[in-house]
Subunit: 98 residues, 2 copies
Amino acid sequence: MIRHTVAFSLKHASGSAAERDFLQAACELVKIEGVQKFECLRQTSLKNSFTFGLSMGFADEAAYAFYCSHPDHTAFVKQRWIPEVVEFMELDYVAHAP
Amino acid sequence: MIRHTVAFSLKHASGSAAERDFLQAACELVKIEGVQKFECLRQTSLKNSFTFGLSMGFADEAAYAFYCSHPDHTAFVKQRWIPEVVEFMELDYVAHAP
């Protein structure tokens, strides 16, 4: 399984209705086919400046690619992510047995 | 639950014995009391420069603090992490219901 994560911060005030509305819209991404283990997260470490996170799993690269190019995802990126996110970092993980 | 994660890159060559030895030593951290859901991960996104990740869960802040100050953890940081890691980013997450 591929775990796709993104840590991010919003331009909205903490606890604002705009913040909540963005996060609720982000949670709609769970409906895209192939998205598993969707999580909306708050980032709590003081060692970085991100305030939220999203995490989701995909069975394989094909499912991940399907999500990335899905019109609901690309519309969310264009209409919400780009205008409302001030900084972000994507990290993707697969299990590794050393 | 608090999910403590760190993305990192090593100074060792990819696939080297030194790389494997470091990761195996990191996996010993699972033995510290309170560590749950320990995962050794490979970072696969091309949108950042990190090559590995560790993820673990703690029931609460007290369990997380116990881990941070545990002598096995502080010894690992001093003897392995600082000498062998070239870059890293810590991200901690808790569930967030918008």
